[in-house]
């Protein structure tokens, strides 16, 4: 079942065309790995999907609902954009945890504010908060951080911070969870714990888009791989198609550079 369809996304900064018409689709439960050299537009693509950038052209369709259509983007209200964002989650390279909140508070903040606007969905406030907290505790257990839930971000290692950031995105139950180089800011010995959490999510059939330079991981976890180059999708296919039989010269050269290290 198709969950995401991206049609002809274009984005220009100044006079540089950073995305030159991106098309792809994704089925529910699939994991998409996006690889490509730095500057090829991977981050910009994820930012467009999360409505941090507005594409100049194209469409974003989730579950057959057109969330974005560049032709109509000027009439999209702030509150509609907010709703659209909740279909996606984004885990940043630099975590971006809120420093003044504990791990648990970081996870609970957004759903708490959202529920407060909706009168706690008909529940009493304390009943809602109890349920939310037990939900957050469940996720914390899943990412192996139950003991650190009352720690502030500065008391956590980079790997632990990134796991909390994943939990913070997960509690909102996004349709598609995006990762932008989730391990690039980490010391090499800490990447494993984060990749393990992501792998666990893929086993639970979480639909994900993962931008990464961890080639081995990209290949293991993905059901589909996109190689981006210079603002375009140069090649897409199954992991074995891309990693073992790349058709494009650019893909081959890129993989060669990465297998060297």
């Amino acid at each position: 079942m198709k969950i995401l369809e991206v049609n002809n996304i274009r984005k220009t900064f100044g006079n540089v065309e950073v995305l030159k018409g991106i098309d792809f689709s994704l089925d529910k439960g699939q994991v998409l790995s996006i690889i490509g050299s730095s500057g090829s537009g991977k981050t910009t693509l994820l930012r467009c999907l999360n409505f941090l950038e507005t594409p100049d052209a194209g469409e974003i369709i989730v579950n057959d609902e057109v969330l974005f259509d560049a032709a109509k983007s000027h009439i999209t209200s702030e509150s509609q954009i907010r709703k659209n964002r909740l279909h996606f989650g984004l885990v940043f390279q630099s975590f971006n945890l809120f420093p003044q909140y504990t791990a648990l508070e970081n996870i609970m903040l957004a759903p708490r504010l959202l529920a407060a606007e909706n009168n706690y969905n008909g529940k009493s406030k304390s009943e809602f908060l109890t349920q939310l907290e037990s939900q957050a505790n469940e996720i914390l257990a899943q990412i192996g951080l139950s003991e650190r839930k009352n720690n502030y971000p500065y008391q956590l290692s980079g790997g632990q911070c990134q796991r909390v950031a994943i939990a913070r995105a997960l509690i909102l139950k996004p349709d598609i969870l995006c990762f932008d180089e989730p391990t690039s800011a980490l010391d090499p010995e800490l990447t494993g714990e984060v990749l393990k959490v992501i792998r666990g999510l893929s086993e639970q059939k979480t639909t994900m888009i993962i931008v990464t330079h961890e080639m081995e991981f990209a290949r293991d976890v993905a059901s589909k791989v996109i190689f981006m180059s210079d603002g375009e999708i140069c090649e897409q296919g199954s992991p074995s198609e891309i990693f073992e039989n790349p058709k494009e010269e650019r893909t081959r050269r890129f993989l060669l550079r990465y297998s060297g290290k």
Binding site: L52, F92, N96, F98, P99, Q100, A110, L113
Partner: protein
């Protein structure tokens, strides 16, 4: 020495009265300059170019000239140049003029600190909030504000401690604050004349007041240290 002990009660009474005026000027300045500074800060980072240019020019003029001259201009300009002495001659008129000059001056200094505070919160914090479906308002109050306050407490503290001492500048327009009260005993006041020690004695008031203010601000800073 014996004489000083005899004069002490009278002098203390007069200095206390002056100190009340000092405290009043101090508090009004803070109460006015905190919000006005925020307004000026928003003006200086406004996306509407004329607003930000005019605001920055104003900040530059106020920070580039001595507060003492600003006091003199605010107090004397209406009467001597415009021939419209709006302040009158009394103590309350002098206080209003002093308060206006102090509030505007400190608001400009605060605005630069606020501006630095607003810009120093990484843009990633705002983006993380947006991606989690929060509104800009929720992000400001639940994410950005406290981080901003944490960053501005130390520089604002420095300004507040400077303000304690700057209030003495209001002496230049004869506001009856504590320096004025101490000096009065040189010329003659309350039956005491030719005494300079009361003026020197005012230093203790500033020291003790500053001590209390510094303690309170340090406590606030410590409170903010639970996160980094």
């Amino acid at each position: 020495m014996e004489l000083i002990i005899k004069q002490m009660p009278v002098v203390i009474n007069a200095l206390n009265a002056g100190f009340v005026q000092t405290l009043k000027l101090f508090s009004i300045t803070l109460l006015g300059a905190f919000p006005l500074g925020l307004l000026i800060a928003f003006g200086s980072i406004s996306k509407i170019t004329p607003i930000s240019v005019i605001t920055r020019l104003f900040i530059w003029i106020i920070r580039g000239t001595p507060l003492m001259i600003q006091l003199l201009i605010v107090y004397y300009f209406p009467g001597l140049v415009l021939h419209n002495p709006i302040w009158g001659g009394g103590e309350s008129g002098r206080f209003t003029a002093a308060a206006i000059a102090f509030v505007v001056n400190y608001a400009c200094y605060f605005s630069e600190i606020y501006r630095g505070g607003i810009l120093s919160v990484p843009v990633g914090q705002q983006e993380a909030g947006l991606v989690l479906g929060m509104t800009k308002r929720q992000i400001f109050f639940h994410v950005t504000l406290l981080q901003m306050i944490k960053r501005i407490v130390p520089p604002i503290s420095n300004e507040i401690i400077t303000l304690v001492k700057d209030t003495a500048l209001a002496r230049i327009i004869a506001l009856q604050e504590i320096i004025w009260a101490g000096q009065a005993f040189m010329k003659g006041s309350h039956g005491i004349s030719g005494a300079i020690w009361p003026l020197f004695f005012t230093a203790f008031y500033y020291l003790i007041f500053n001590g209390i203010v510094t303690l309170a601000l340090t406590k606030l800073e410590d409170k903010m240290n639970y996160f980094r």
